[in-house]
Amino acid sequence: MFAWLPENVSTYGGDIDAIFKLIYYVVGVWFVATQVFLVYCLIRFRRRSGNQRSKYLPGNTASQAAWVLIPCALVLVLDLWIDFRGADVWAKVKLSRPTPNLIVRVTGKQFNWIVTYPGPDGKFGTADDKKIDNDLHVPVNQVVRVLLTGEDVIHSFYLPHLRLKQDVVPGREIPAWFEATKTGKYEIPCAELCGFGHSGMKGFLYVHSEADFKAWVRTQWPSAG
């Protein structure tokens, strides 16, 4: 099943996949156990002759109820385990705000991602800002903060290979971050229904090596050297 996951190229992607696997194995065991039990009952207790009598088990004594309550207690413990492991990962991805090496703004608009770079001065709203449609260029192994804003309806900024998804809500500026670990070209689909152009609303994420990224910056802002 995990062979179906797209290759992970972010620092925290592995953590998310690990929780995914944890849950998979925990519930997998329960799933198999319950199904096997079910099938076993169907076979073992199938009515073979007309006058086969069943047991009388109303489940109202402590010893009978224990058959159900003990597994339930186990489920409770496993639930909490999943929760606590998950909480750490959630905090890492969504709550922490590591200091970024690059800040960009991405604006969702029917049906494009508008990527705004602050330019060499590092500030938005100045003359050297640069807007690019649908292409997001970032350096590898660097923390990138993406400020997500929306102009019309809700979109969802989705980086499947980086295990990142964040809805883009008009009226809010939502910061998200990632650190890519591998160079390459990845897709940025929109994951929230946003109208007839939703299917096909996508951009590309270019993860460059340090040198390539510098070169790209030079082509964009030649004057800044």
Binding site: T34, S54, D167
Partner: protein, 517 residues
């Protein structure tokens, strides 16, 4: 059901004559979700079962408010017509998803849909009104009109479940009604409750919707689960394991269901500090459900299982529900949901839960109570063909769908071939489509069986399944007023099968003490 065709992007669709455009695709998905949830699941599981079974099972001549009941049926009919009409208005029906998130749904220019979406809101509002009336009936009737001896803890579980569903519905729908009014105003009077420009907040709708939305899925689940319980007990020839505890477990799940709604919004711009509390409540809800499922399994343990068609459907439904339930845990874990939210993994999750309840549970109920409704038996052979076909095709459709989700494929996209990483999944999509067509075709035996048995089916006796609850003490179909003579009084809990020291294998609720041996 038709919209699945889009696994073959941009190709002509047989029987439709041309490819579907993306806006039409969105409309189809929206209407599919709306119709299935609000106009198939709710009427079938809650309204139909509630109206037919509650009076029969509690020993009443009719519902507490027959006139209110008629009204709710009529309002529902009008609601369906309104929704249907929206297919024919200019610019098509609603296309903002069955969740209707604004701002997309709040302004005409965003979707291009004109009155279609207003009609959609109106249809939902009427539907809610209908179920408010119905729900009040389903609550008052079992509380006030039980026959002599039928104490609350002697009610069959399905009656409890329908009551539970009604309570959940009544207490959760209010905020959404308010939200629907606001949305209508946003669309038609230019207000901006849900638009950031005017000071409103798009997230507000999501909260109002899901505050209702999550309890709503249990509104669908509970009656179906109740039907499965009846059937499993009857055909295992065994009393329910932990009758009272199941009721308590449902109450706990019901309370929790009001505390989990934001699990649909983990990445929606929700305050991220809220995610973990909601994630914890969500995952904790598996404990009461595990309890219920284990109790069902314990009910089968040591039984004398009689494998009729309804039993197959009930057991199959239980099996699939476990599957859908455990995939809910993945969604419920906030970090994992970052990746799988709005992918086909979620689609697969909710079809596993909904299909197992609405269709498998619904079919189980239909096959089980068909003799009571129409006075004739359905054909067992074709029933089993129908079950195995449905079950296997279901698995073929929806198990691979999880893999699509793991592969990252988004939901509600009209054309998956537009994405590189999704393109690789196309063969799987084709496979699923073929299986879905199979799933549709295999319903044919059911339709024929259902209609045909009305005329040629074997005549059903009062109690073809040797069951214990009250509805089996009256002729099939029940006459006007439900019992020809006096209403039987009740002398014991439901599900008294194979009681030690009693020679009969089963003791109907109505049989007086002592009259037994």
């Amino acid at each position: 059901m038709i919209r699945w065709q889009l696994a073959y992007p941009e190709t002509e669709i047989p029987l439709f004559g041309r490819p579907i455009g993306p806006d039409e695709y969105n409309a189809f998905v929206t209407m599919h979700g709306t119709i299935m949830v609000f106009f198939v699941a709710m009427p079938l599981l809650v309204a139909a079962m509630g109206n037919f079974l509650i009076p029969l099972m509690i020993g009443a001549r009719d519902m507490a408010f027959p006139r209110l009941n008629m009204m709710s049926v009529w309002v529902l009919a009008v609601a369906s017509l309104v929704l249907l009409a929206s297919f024919f208005v200019e610019a098509g029906p609603a296309a903002a998803g069955w969740t209707g998130y604004p701002p997309l749904s709040a302004r005409i220019e965003y979707t291009g849909v004109e009155y279609g979406l207003d009609l959609w809101i109106l249809a939902l509002a009427l539907e809610f009104a209908s179920f408010l009336m119905g729900g009040i009936n389903f609550l008052v009737t079992p509380i006030n009109l039980r026959t002599r001896g039928m104490s609350l803890f002697r009610l069959p579980l399905i009656v409890w479940m329908i009551m539970g569903a009604s309570i959940l519905f009544l207490l959760s729908v209010g905020p959404l009604i308010a939200g629907a009014v606001f949305l209508l105003l946003d669309r038609n009077l230019g207000t901006s409750f849900f638009l950031a420009e005017g000071g409103g907040d798009p997230l507000l709708w999501q909260h109002l919707f899901w505050f209702f939305g999550h309890p709503e899925v249990y509104v669908i689940l509970l009656p179906a689960a109740g039907a499965m319980m009846e059937i499993i007990s009857t055909f295992s020839r065994k009393t329910i394991f932990g009758y009272k505890s199941i009721i308590y477990a449902v109450m706990i799940a019901g309370v929790l269901s009001f505390l989990v709604w934001a699990h649909h919004q983990f990445i929606s711009g929700l305050d991220p500090r809220l995610a973990m509390p909601f994630s914890i409540t969500t995952i904790l809800i598996s404990v009461p459900f595990a309890f219920i499922i284990f109790s069902m399994l314990a009910t089968m343990w040591g039984g004398s299982i009689w494998l009729t068609t309804p039993m197959w459907f009930a057991v199959g439904g239980l099996s699939v529900f476990i599957f859908g339930g455990v995939t809910g845990i993945f969604n419920g874990s906030a970090p994992v949901d970052i990746y799988i939210h709005d992918t086909y993994f979620v689609v697969a999750h909710f079809h596993s839960t909904l299909f197992s309840t609405v269709f498998l549970g619904g079919f189980a109920a239909l096959y089980y109570w068909y003799p009571k409704m129409f006075g004739r038996m359905m054909n067992e052979f074709w029933g089993k063909v129908h079950f195995w076909g449905t079950y296997i095709f279901f698995l073929l459709v929806f198990v691979p769908m999880h893999l699509l989700g793991v592969g990252g494929m988004m939901r509600r996209i009209a054309d998956p071939s537009k994405y590189e990483f999704v393109k690789e999944l196309l063969p799987m999509n084709e496979f699923i489509t073929v299986a879905a067509i199979g799933l549709l075709l295999i319903q044919a035996p059911f339709v024929f069986n259902f209609l045909g048995s009305m005329f040629v089916g074997k005549k059903a006796s009062e109690n073809p399944w040797d069951a214990t609850t009250l509805e089996w003490t009256t002729p099939s179909p029940p006459p006007h007023g439900n019992w020809p003579g006096a209403i039987p009084a009740v002398h014991r809990p439901p599900y008294e099968y194979a009681v030690p020291g009693v020679s009969e294998e089963w003791l109907p609720q109505s049989r007086p003490e002592g009259a037994a041996s």
